[in-house]
Subunit: 192 residues, 2 copies
DNA sequence: CCTGTTTCTAAGCAACTGATTAGATATCAG
DNA sequence: CTGATATCTAATCAGTTGCTTAGAAACAGG
């Protein structure tokens, strides 16, 4: 019975996520969203209830996005120091060409909204916990493999590298690759 | 000749800076500004031309603010590792009580606006250069004092600690003090 | 006191904000 | 095909956005 949706909710959510990623929450209007998602406001609201809920769904979607496109290697069971090192240097190399250093959606959100919205703050927090958990596993694997000292404090080091990644995301907005490489190299040297 | 201004431009700018600091640029309306600055829109525009220019002035004002209230110790000629250490642990201890972890205005701005506004990006960049210059001096003093190894790469280390500070600003929004302390302790240990 | 200039108040501007709605359109069970 | 239901289009809602302006009020020089 009844009519079918003419769009794929998953696909339009991916589009929405990218728009929020580029512009931030406040600077993204529902008009812009309907244009970029390719559906009109009625459909947006009927599928996602409100702009804020769409944004929260976008953050969750972002997590899946980076799992598959950014952290796919680090998430492998056998990922250790080599993979972490590769990831960090790659992140430092991110081109910040005119207008396009969007950084990390969640870091941007932390800066923009965490102090004013608890629901979003919880979402952001969950994301960072996920990243840290990933780092814990990677570091533990590195210990098991003998790549780093057996008495390495994985708890402390995972907190450290999470902080480094957050710093990298901010720094990459204005800083050149050389300086970012210095940052990363010092961060890595202390554990080797 | 003519009437006198009934407000101090310096004082109202300080108020404006704090409002932007708490809410961010987009989420701060001119109505809110006139309420918090204690003057009406006519006066805001006659003194600061536009919301954006007022914001840029606020960033400059923020720099003076932190020079006098946050980095005053680190900016002293003789500041070395002890002062850097003290500052970082203090930053890690920043209470993020309900609604009030505003972090650093410039880091927040980097996340919110750097990708969309070049003029603001330049302002943000200038601020980070200033912080790094401060770190360079502190680290060089630490070398001269013999607090850290004489062959310390001050360039790399200043880039590193700038990144650490940026990460700390983001992390402090959602992360508890214990984890922030771990982050800071690892960052400091590698140089000692 | 006047006169000229500036600052102030408060109303108003068009454009945009997130969100809703009425009516047209499509779809499927029967 | 018919009828019920869901989805679409497009207009519209009240409220807010950054910014401007006309006229009242305050001040200084003469």
């Amino acid at each position: 019975m009844s009519r079918n949706k003419s769009y794929d909710e998953n696909a339009v959510l991916e589009r929405a996520m990218i728009v929020f990623w580029i512009n931030g929450y406040e600077a993204t209007s529902v008009r812009l969203l309907e244009k970029e998602m390719g559906i009109n406001q009625f459909s947006i609201y009927s599928s996602f209830t409100s702009k804020k809920k769409l944004f929260i769904e976008s953050i969750r979607r972002y997590r899946e996005h980076v799992k598959q496109n950014v952290y796919q290697t680090l998430l492998r069971e056998d990922a250790g120091m080599k993979e972490l090192e590769q990831y960090l240097y790659k992140a430092a190399r991110k081109k910040k060409k005119p207008g396009l250093s969007r950084g990390c959606l969640v870091v941007n959100t932390a800066a923009e909204l965490v102090s004013s919205d608890e629901e979003i703050a919880a979402e952001v927090n969950g994301y960072f916990i996920f990243i840290r958990e990933m780092l814990r596993k990677v570091l533990q694997t590195a210990v098991d493999k003998g790549e780093i000292a057996p008495d390495t404090d994985v708890e402390k080091q995972s907190a450290f590298f999470l902080g480094v990644m957050q710093g990298l995301s901010v720094a990459s907005k204005t800083t050149d690759t050389g300086q970012l490489n210095d940052f990363v190299s010092v961060a890595l040297k202390q554990i080797k």
